[in-house]
Subunit: 215 residues, 2 copies
DNA sequence: ACATTATATGACCCTTAGTTATTTTTTATT
DNA sequence: AATAAAAAATAACTAAGGGTCATATAATGT
């Protein structure tokens, strides 16, 4: 009896359509000012139906955040090259992160939004999110660090999970800082007090060598 | 005619009282769930009066954020010792930042909240905020870095403003990451996957030496 | 004593997230 | 094919809270 399977598929489909609509509305209007009625209109559904699929506006936002994670994961996967060592691949991931932020500023905004919050409640509260946990960019990154420790390109005195978490947080902090200061990582607004190009270079340099003078 | 001066003082006083009340309410209820009526009640004023002093709930929140900046500034000032070099003082500031987050988690939350947003509109929109710009922790930090470059303890190939901005963003990213994951920098919750102690140590080590294996 | 200005009030408006009684559509049963 | 049962969708409704405004009170100036 393939009916329940088909129904499940259709349910998934609706969910996706709703997230599509929400994305459009949230990204153009901004999450705070966007209304659920607007999302309903865009999705060509009634507002009540939205709440059949998502518990709240925030949960709908979180669904977009999950997408952001997936897209970031794709950027990272493509950036990792098996013929390069761990340190090189760390830089590759860094560059991939930059590209992601550059071309998906709205998705990054969503990531920033949930960076602050404790997200566990969302995930544990919804079956959909629980099984979606797979594509974790951070996990990918931990792998690269482990690789780097093995091949000798990355220091071995700190646990790989700790290194990757730290670098991850650092990178997010830097991009956040840039993004909130509207240093768009784009060429055309160099008339700011901080040159984004220089800023990023500094980030990479510090990561590599630390701030100590001694070589 | 000292009347206008006294009136200005009283106005300032009211403002402060309102911020006190808002702080109490926001910090106990959380900013989102707290209501302006609650703040009015706490301040023993009518809601309308609040809007005579602050344009919006968000601006009131921002006033708290300014306080957070002041308090952080105090932590930093006390941490800097003129008999130590720039690199040592950088670490001192790092430790001070940790202390600040540890003992003022709510203020730090406020800082995180505005870290994401573009804050320029707030400042330019209010005379009060414009003149309050003085106590900037970041400025203090830039001075320390400059000192470090002069005394030879910090690398000189990156501009001091860039270094400090980068480290600043990195640190904020790390503390944010810890805070959102509820790794409270406190001893008593070590049963997490990441040990906060280890995390912070890693942060300092990476800052010092970079991730490269070569010494 | 009176006029004028500054400050404070609280009832009111309006938007919007979320709910629920009702209807429509789909599936199962006879 | 007709009907019962279940699932999905609707739209009118509610509640809450941010922000406003006509009105009142207090302080200052003349």
């Amino acid at each position: 009896m393939g009916i329940s399977e088909r129904k499940e598929r259709e349910k998934q489909q609706r969910r996706t359509e709703i997230v599509n609509a929400a994305e459009k509305v949230f990204f153009t209007q901004g999450f705070k000012t966007a209304t659920m009625d607007q999302v309903a209109e865009e999705a060509e559904l009634s507002k009540g139906t939205l709440y059949l699929y998502f518990k709240s506006k925030e949960e709908l936002h979180f669904a977009i955040n999950m997408r952001a994670g997936d897209i970031m994961y794709e950027y990272f996967s493509k950036a990792i090259h098996t013929n390069q060592n761990g340190l090189e691949n760390t830089r590759n991931i860094g560059m991939a992160y930059i590209e992601f932020v550059k071309y998906n500023p709205k998705y990054f905004e969503s990531i920033m939004h949930f960076q602050i919050k404790n997200v566990d409640d969302f995930i544990s509260g919804s079956e959909y999110f629980k099984e979606h946990k797979k594509k974790n960019p951070l996990k990918l990154f931990i792998g690269v660090i482990e690789e780097g420790i093995k091949d000798g390109s990355i220091r071995s005195d700190i646990k790989p999970e700790i290194i990757s978490h730290t670098l991850w947080a650092m990178a997010t902090g830097v991009f956040q800082h840039m993004s909130s200061k509207k240093l768009h990582m784009m060429k055309h607004d160099t008339d700011k007090e901080i040159d984004p190009e220089e800023y990023l270079q500094s980030f990479f340099q510090i990561i590599r060598n630390g701030i100590s003078h001694e070589k």
